[in-house]
């Protein structure tokens, strides 16, 4: 007993006053479209289809990069012959829709050389981050207050996201000080923190968990697979894909897996305490 007390005294406080902030070179890929020649090397290198090229006309092309399915492997960074892709320092990435996690640019393609020239960044469909934030606040306003009870649901994850979600409860991050608490039953929960890809065999359980959660309820999708199916894809015989294929998702936290601070940030976004940011692009 004395040993335990002395151990506790010697250890002191481990909890970080501010667990947030950037990490040099640990974020998401950022495409400098002005340097891009639309050669599609990055598209071929990407294992999850996070980078896509779509021909629009014989002399036009769209290239898009979506953090929703990015597993942060950096294969694109290595593959780009123009060094047009770098890695951001932003790790606290979240959004209110899949579209907000994507960035698309149009290119003019030279029909002889096939070389593309950057035309412009295209507007993504749907609400802006600010409008979506306001809408979510409106929906939960005054109902959830400054505390959030969370039921975590693994709907098909590889368990990498679970490791990082569990890490948010460790003494360094200590998410309970932010008013966030993991509860044992959906009946006690305000929010579902769902990892994916949603498998065929978990679809019914996920729906029933959602139905058991009292309104107003918030759904947060975690990880590349929860946001988009990730490396496992969407619409396979065994996996439906992103959580939004089954439930309405309020907040997306991309990453493979997202760091504990990113998960913490996403939960604060779901509470309306923070506004989602996708980061420098």
């Amino acid at each position: 007993m004395l040993g335990i007390i002395s151990k506790s005294l010697r250890t002191g406080t481990l909890t970080e006053a501010d667990p947030f902030g950037g990490h040099a070179s640990f974020g998401f890929p950022v495409m400098d479209f002005s340097r891009c020649t639309a050669c599609d090397e990055c598209v071929r290198s990407c294992p999850t289809g996070a980078i896509r090229a779509v021909p629009t006309t014989p002399d036009g092309k769209l290239i898009s990069l979506s953090y929703a399915s990015c597993i942060q492997c950096r294969a694109c960074v290595a593959a780009c012959p123009e060094q047009a892709i770098s890695v951001s320092t932003d790790v606290e990435v979240a959004a209110y829709s899949r579209e907000q996690l994507a960035r698309t640019a149009s290119f003019d393609v030279d029909p002889v050389t096939g070389r593309g020239t950057f035309r412009q960044v295209e507007l993504e469909a749907g609400l802006s981050l600010a409008d979506a934030a306001a809408r979510l606040k409106e929906r939960i306003r005054g109902r959830l207050g400054r505390s959030l009870h969370v039921r975590q649901v693994d709907a098909g994850s590889c368990n990498g996201c679970e490791l990082e979600i569990a890490a948010t409860t460790n003494p360094f991050y200590d998410l309970e000080r932010f008013g966030i608490h993991f509860v044992a039953s959906p009946r006690h929960a305000d929010a579902l923190l769902v990892t994916g890809p949603v498998t065929r065999n978990m679809e019914a359980a996920l729906r029933r968990t959602y139905e058991a959660t009292p309104e107003p309820r918030v759904v947060v999708a975690v990880g590349a697979c929860g946001c988009s199916g990730g490396i496992f894809g969407e619409g396979t015989y065994a996996a439906l894909g992103g959580v939004d294929r089954v439930l309405p998702v309020d907040v997306y936290i991309p990453g493979c897996p997202p760091r504990p601070q990113a998960i913490l940030n996403g939960l604060l976004v779901a509470m309306g305490v923070r506004e989602a940011r996708v980061g420098t692009r």
Binding site: G3, I4, K7, S8, T11, L14, S25, F26, P47, T48, I71, Q72, C73, R74, R151, Q152, V153, D154, A155, G156, S157, C158, N159, G160, C161, E162, L163, E164, I165, A166, A167, T169, N170, P171, F172, F182, A184, S185, P186, P197, T199, R200, N201, M202, A204, A205, T209, C225, G230, I231, F232, G233, G235, T236, Y237, A238, A239, C256, P257, R259
Partner: protein
């Protein structure tokens, strides 16, 4: 090595020339399916073989046949033995060995579910991989089954649990969504008061079609998928996959790459073991060591982040070596951190084993006897805690392990305490290994150049003793040198039946701590 083949041939009573050494440490014997049960007896009795994997492949486009593969570990010879038998699609069945070798039980049923090949004489030939709302004939791993097929649900999703009856006996269903932050699975307890009479599992809730997906991805992208088989074993599975590809493509990993792989694998072992030790303390409500273990784990994963660029060591393994070198500064950071970690770790274990409140809950709890572990074919930490002395790092050395000095800790108790102590001793051994290897990193490149294409119509086995136990990957290529089949075997698949045997006789409140002492992967099991 030829003498190995001769001894094995004599024991199996087959001509020596029938056994070929496909690759170093991998003997291959093609047989007739009807001979499999007899051969299983001889492999088990004469050669002390242990069944590591059993699976099928669809080769109808090449040979008009299915093929069954049995992977036996022969530690005495430091080799694997792959028995392989063709199956005629017109008579889609094979003789079951599950009644005699329970390790084959789930494997054979999975072959039935995913290939439609029926194990004749299986004592319980019901579905294991597919839930009851899958229609008959959804043989997902057959080549004519498209990956994106939308399989209709059939009504009647009622898993046939075996009823447990008697006066005062009732059932407690738990899951698939659990109370903690863990993976999904269903446990059905038959209980009389608090003691558990019988435990039944229903898994495969997180079946994601990984083996099918490997066949659709370019082989260079396979590694990313391997890292996501079980997120806590990213290094183990990536390495097993890389080994298989390297053996298949005759690629030589430079010595520095091999040494760095050992570092990564041992770090993965330590960060998981320390998390499990902390979780055991959590499950008996002993909060001080639980919190200490969490802090130790977080400190280690942050150091991993700093040195290797990823908290969970994803993206570190490459086919042909490793992706990132360990620079001298990184080596110093790691060495300093591990030294402090070792001291703290020692105190943590002392805190646990000196506390009656802790030992009361773990001593004699959830016993898996040595005989049960042997009969069920249990592997890894769980096997070594039940007195089974098996570890691929010594029995089938890979990477740089042959040149390192380390012990394989074995405990006899078979209880939660034994599984805890095996982890604690393994962490100490891992620290020893890291100490040795950080001092002697060979001065070569980290990875070898990769060829444009893999050899066509080839196959190879890759294996790793990861932190939970052996991960094996069998990889075969098609006529273009792209991936035709990947069979992934996670140690969890072999060990879940061990949990079923360890729980009865214990009380329900002790289930979480028993379950945690095995800490099996649902995702690795279900794939």
């Amino acid at each position: 090595m030829r003498s190995n083949a001769a001894t094995v041939a004599a024991a199996l009573q087959v001509p020596e020339e029938d056994i070929r050494e496909g690759r170093p440490g991998e003997l291959v014997l093609d047989v007739n399916a009807q001979a499999l049960p007899g051969l299983a007896d001889r492999v088990s009795q004469e050669l002390e073989g242990r069944l590591m994997s059993l699976f099928a492949s669809d080769e109808r486009d090449q040979t008009a046949q299915f093929r069954l593969h049995y992977v036996w570990s022969l530690p005495r010879f430091q080799t694997f033995l792959l028995l392989s038998a063709p199956i005629n699609p017109a008579r889609p069945s094979f003789p079951s060995i599950a009644a005699k070798y329970p390790a084959a039980n789930w494997f054979e049923r999975e072959v039935m579910d995913l290939y439609g090949l029926v194990p004749d004489g299986h004592p319980n030939p019901t579905r294991v991989a597919l839930h009851e709302d899958w229609p008959d004939g959804a043989w997902a791993l057959r080549k004519d089954f498209p990956e994106d097929r939308n399989v209709p649900r059939v009504p009647g999703d009622h898993h046939p649990f075996r009823p447990v009856t008697g006066e005062g006996v009732f059932e407690v269903p738990v899951g698939p969504v659990h109370a903690g932050i863990i993976e999904p699975g269903h446990f059905r307890f038959g209980v009389a008061g608090e003691p558990v009479l019988y435990l039944q599992l229903r898994l495969f809730y997180v079946h994601k079609g990984i083996e099918k997906r490997f066949e659709r991805l370019p082989w260079r992208h396979g590694l990313f998928l391997a890292e996501s088989i079980s997120g806590d074993t990213a290094v183990g599975h990536a390495l097993a996959f890389a080994h298989a590809i390297e053996r298949l493509g005759n690629l030589e990993v430079p010595p520095r790459g091999q040494a760095l792989r050992v570092i990564l694998l041992e770090l993965e072992r330590i960060y998981n073991h320390i998390a499990d030790i902390g979780a055991l303390a959590t499950d008996v409500a002993f909060t001080v060591p639980a919190s200490r273990a969490q802090a130790l784990r977080e400190g280690l994963v942050r150091t991993q982040d700093q040195v290797f660029g990823n908290r969970l060591l994803r993206g570190t393994i490459a086919v042909g070596g490793v992706k990132r070198d360990l620079l001298p500064e990184g080596r110093e950071v790691l060495r300093t951190h591990l030294r402090a970690f070792g001291k703290e770790f020692e105190r943590l274990i002392a805190l646990l084993v000196d506390a009656g409140t802790f030992t009361d809950r773990v001593d004699g709890t959830g016993i898996l006897t040595r005989q049960a572990a042997l009969d069920l074919g249990i592997v890894g930490v769980a096997a070594r805690a039940s007195g089974v002395d098996a570890d691929l790092r010594r029995d089938h050395p890979h990477d740089a392990y042959e040149s390192l000095q380390f012990k394989i800790p074995v405990e006899d108790g078979g209880d939660v305490r034994a599984r805890l102590m095996v982890r604690a001793r393994e962490v100490e051994q891992s620290l020893e290994i890291l100490d040795q290897i950080l001092d002697s990193l060979p001065d070569t490149t980290c990875a070898t150049e990769l060829p444009e294409h893999l050899p066509p119509r080839a196959s190879a086995l890759g294996w790793v003793e990861a932190w939970r136990g052996p991960c094996t990957h069998f990889v075969a290529t098609d006529e273009r040198g792209e991936i035709a089949r990947v069979k992934v075997t996670d140690p969890s698949f072999l060990n879940w039946p061990g949990l079923v045997h360890a729980v009865p006789g214990n009380i329900i409140p002790d289930f979480p701590v028993i379950n945690k002492s095995f800490n099996l992967s649902y995702s690795g099991n279900d794939r």
